[in-house]
């Protein structure tokens, strides 16, 4: 068998002058495809309060709370990002389409309390 030496030299030399594969995030934006299971978005206007999402969530991360603010009653979605596994079951099962998965990432939090957000 004939052997080679220095098989990667060409590629290494080319890489010296080409763009790096790593991206200096967050200075440079990352692009995720359309169907990416990222952060959940909630539209209170179309939520009917059926709580199917609460049942479907395997991590018990989501809860729907009926809150009254300024005399107006609407549904609020309390999501614990620390528990969320980004599986997308809630968005799939939501009949009104008020829960959707976006292609954005969740920014990190500095404490566990900050991870419990109201969408």
């Amino acid at each position: 068998m004939r052997f080679k030496i220095g098989g990667l030299t060409g590629e290494a030399g080319k890489n010296l002058f080409s763009r790096s594969a790593t991206v200096p995030y967050p200075r440079e934006e990352l692009h995720y495809p359309d169907g990416y299971r990222g952060r959940i978005s909630f539209d209170p206007a179309s939520c009917i309060g059926c709580r199917s999402c609460v049942d479907a969530c395997p991590a018990r991360a989501i809860s729907i709370v009926n809150s009254v603010r300024a005399g107006e009653s609407k549904f609020e979605c309390h999501l614990n990002f620390g528990r969320c596994v980004y599986c997308g079951r809630c968005a799939e099962i939501c009949p009104g389409g008020s829960l959707k998965m976006t292609a954005e990432l969740t920014p990190p939090a500095l404490s566990r309390k900050d991870m419990r957000t109201v969408l």
Binding site: G6, L8, T9, A12, G13, N15, L16, S18, S20, A21, T22, P24
Partner: protein
């Protein structure tokens, strides 16, 4: 006064430290670029040094306390002392004398022995493994390295670096005759600097940091610095022995020195990025089966040519 300036500032200690930190950063950037990464910031070696120096000093109870302090300092001191005798931008180094080539080669061997001592006396299994590996490697790469650095000296019939540069300035074409030795010097220098393909003393996966496993904080900072300075001294030595041409004005000589050393640094980077880590049997096989015969042939050719010229 001028002597003190030369010793401590330029081209002595301060210049060496700054240049070695710069070369370390450049080397890491080059490696990263070839791997399609961005690499650390340019000031990273400085940041590392500052961080390490500020850490707590921890010496294992069973280790030799005195050696923990002395060994890194001796490694750094040996390398800095060697730098004084290497000509940088003129044929004369800071302290030229007849036989300074031998002194430099001797001083530059000390860091490897310090690595062994560090590992052996650090009371850790990983340390002793790493230390023994460093010494074993030295038995392999040292001979071809010395032979390749001495081959041009044999041709020039002089043991002083000034004499070598004088000889080759008169007969520049003979520099090309030393190309095989140049190649051997580049390959075996990686052994001295503990880089791929000879980086098994510090190969992380099987033995922590090898010889440096118990060395933290200040001690590791010194070793790290010694390694970086060793890189610059080795590069300068190779430049002085294989590329010994200097222009008349010192400023131009300084620029040329930078160019030469950076060129050799790029060659170093290319070589150690593209090579595989060899284990001890393969290291011996590579050095004694291929490098030593080639170096011997180079020496024989040099002696024959010397006989023809003289």
């Amino acid at each position: 006064m001028a002597q003190v300036f030369k010793l401590l500032i330029f081209p002595g200690l301060l210049f060496l430290l700054c240049y070695s930190l710069f070369c370390a950063a450049l080397s890491r950037k080059l490696d990263a670029r070839m791997q399609k990464r961005r690499g650390p910031r340019w000031l990273q070696p400085v940041a590392d040094l500052m961080k390490l120096v500020g850490k707590e000093r921890m010496i294992p109870a069973r280790a030799d306390q005195g050696l923990f302090f002395m060994v890194p300092a001796v490694a750094l001191a040996a390398v800095c002392a060697a730098y004084l005798y290497v000509p940088l931008f003129s044929p004369l180094s800071a302290h030229p004398f007849n036989g300074d080539l031998i002194v430099v080669l001797y001083l530059v061997t000390l860091p490897a022995i310090c690595v062994f001592l560090a590992g052996w006396y650090s009371s850790s299994v990983y340390g002793s493994f790493g230390g023994v590996r460093a010494l074993t490697q030295m038995a392999a790469y040292q001979v071809p390295l010395l032979m390749s650095l001495l081959a041009p000296a044999l041709l020039a019939d002089s043991w002083s670096l000034q004499g070598i540069s004088q000889f080759y300035t008169e007969r520049p074409l003979l520099m090309l005759l030393n190309l095989p030795a140049f190649g051997i010097a580049i390959v075996t220098s990686q052994g001295k600097l503990m880089k791929s393909p000879f980086d098994s003393p510090i190969a992380g996966a099987e033995q922590g940091s090898g010889a440096f496993s118990e060395f933290g904080g200040r001690f590791f900072a010194f070793f790290d610095l010694a390694e970086d300075c060793d890189t610059v001294v080795t590069i300068s030595l190779i430049a002085a022995v294989f590329l010994p041409f200097y222009p008349a004005s010192p400023l131009l000589g300084f620029l040329l020195y930078l160019l030469k050393t950076l060129f050799i640094l790029v060659l170093f980077s290319l070589f150690h990025t593209l090579s595989v880590r060899l284990h001890s049997e393969q290291v011996f096989s590579l050095c004694w089966r291929y490098m030593v015969p080639l170096a011997l042939i180079q020496i024989i050719v040099n002696l024959l040519v010397k006989g023809v010229i003289v």
